[in-house]
């Protein structure tokens, strides 16, 4: 029996692989950026899946989760806090990549990575 967490984790790993494949094989800068975003989403899904526990609920104390019972009822809150940070930093990284891509396009009027040969050896 495959649990929800394992399914989510497998999805995350597959997304990471798709992202890596795209980043390695695509020539267009924008497509590479999209690939990095996909891999980023995959990493986040894997981390959240690690924190999941069977039969427990979100780490928010309310009528369903009384304070005294919280330890036995909630899932691990630490991976969620980590992913919250990772998502925000991911957006920042994506914005930076887009800004650089825009600048590169302005210089050479192309987004093909093969045309940028200055650092090639």
């Amino acid at each position: 029996m495959i649990s929800l967490a394992q399914m989510a984790m497998a999805t995350g790993f597959i997304l990471i692989l798709i992202g890596f494949y795209g980043a390695l094989t695509q020539r267009n800068l924008l497509r590479m950026i999209v690939a990095f975003s996909i891999a980023d989403a995959g990493v986040n899904i894997v981390i959240v899946a690690i924190g999941h526990m069977r039969g427990r609920t979100a780490p928010i104390i309310d009528a369903a989760v009384p304070v005294a019972d919280a330890v036995a009822r909630v899932i691990d809150p630490v991976p969620q806090a980590l992913v919250l940070t990772a998502i925000v930093i991911g957006v920042g990284v994506t914005a930076l990549m887009l800004a650089y891509a825009l600048k590169l396009h302005e210089r050479k009027r192309t987004l093909d990575i093969a045309r940028f040969t200055e650092l090639k050896w």
Partner: protein
């Protein structure tokens, strides 16, 4: 062709690594020590219903300050990179965009205030519901994106954005320092009374700090969007 084969080989190796990780994964049945501490102590010490918020804003508040700083630096670099340097090649004339259409214009006029309201709701209630400053800030920036889509030539006031951003950042650090002086440490939330669990005015200064983070993140994302969109506008004014 050989490049693609190498890439596939590499992916196969990484995939095998992932598969062995997945096969050997055994989910925990109990919370680990750190998580147990947070789950036990949050309600009593912090007074926030949302444990994730308590971790992000108070237990690991310093890390969040660092995160906000990273975001600020990113926004600054995006602005810097896009602003400087002349394009090496002459501009190829861009064809004018097609008009955006009645639906988007009217829709954005109706939806933007609602989106902004939702963003504010999400970050004000960050200590009670699954939300918070980063999510609310992103929602506010998505409202700005809708405005830009409806009118690509729209100009946001950079002054307003930077004033809002620096003011909320300054207040964030100021509250942290006040925590050192009047409570038990930097960014301690017990500066204000903790109140009753589950009420809007509870958890000390967490709602205040998260609202400031929300404003700051919203302003930073908006400034990134404005910077990315304004490249186009300068092109247009040069052509005309």
């Amino acid at each position: 062709m050989i490049k693609r084969a190498i890439a596939l080989l590499l992916l196969l190796a990484v995939g095998a690594l992932f598969a062995s990780l997945l096969a050997g994964y055994v989910p925990d049945s109990e919370l680990n020590q750190t998580a147990r501490y947070y789950a036990e102590r949050t309600a009593g010490d912090i007074g926030a219903a949302n444990i994730v918020t308590a971790i992000v804003v108070t237990y690991r508040g310093l890390d969040t300050l660092g995160e906000v700083t990273v975001l600020f630096i990113t926004a600054a670099i995006v602005g810097l990179v896009l602003a400087q340097g002349q394009p090496a090649l002459p501009h190829t004339p861009r064809q004018l965009r097609p008009p955006v259409g009645e639906l988007l214009t009217t829709g954005s006029r109706m939806l933007t205030p609602l989106i902004l309201l939702l963003g504010v709701y999400v970050f004000v209630n960050g200590h009670l519901t699954p939300g918070g400053g980063f999510q609310g800030g992103a929602i506010i920036a998505s409202g700005m994106l809708l405005l830009l889509l409806a009118d690509p030539l729209k100009h946001f006031s950079h002054q307003l954005i930077s004033v809002l951003e620096s003011l909320s950042g300054l207040l964030f650090v100021g509250i942290g320092v006040l925590g050192v002086l009047f409570a038990s440490g930097f960014l301690d939330n017990r500066l204000l009374p903790i109140g009753n669990l589950g009420e809007l005015f509870s958890a000390g200064v967490i709602p205040v700090i998260y609202s400031l983070i929300g404003l700051k993140v919203g302003a930073e994302f908006s400034s990134m969007l404005a910077n990315l969109s304004e490249i186009d506008k300068t092109d247009k004014t040069e052509e005309t």
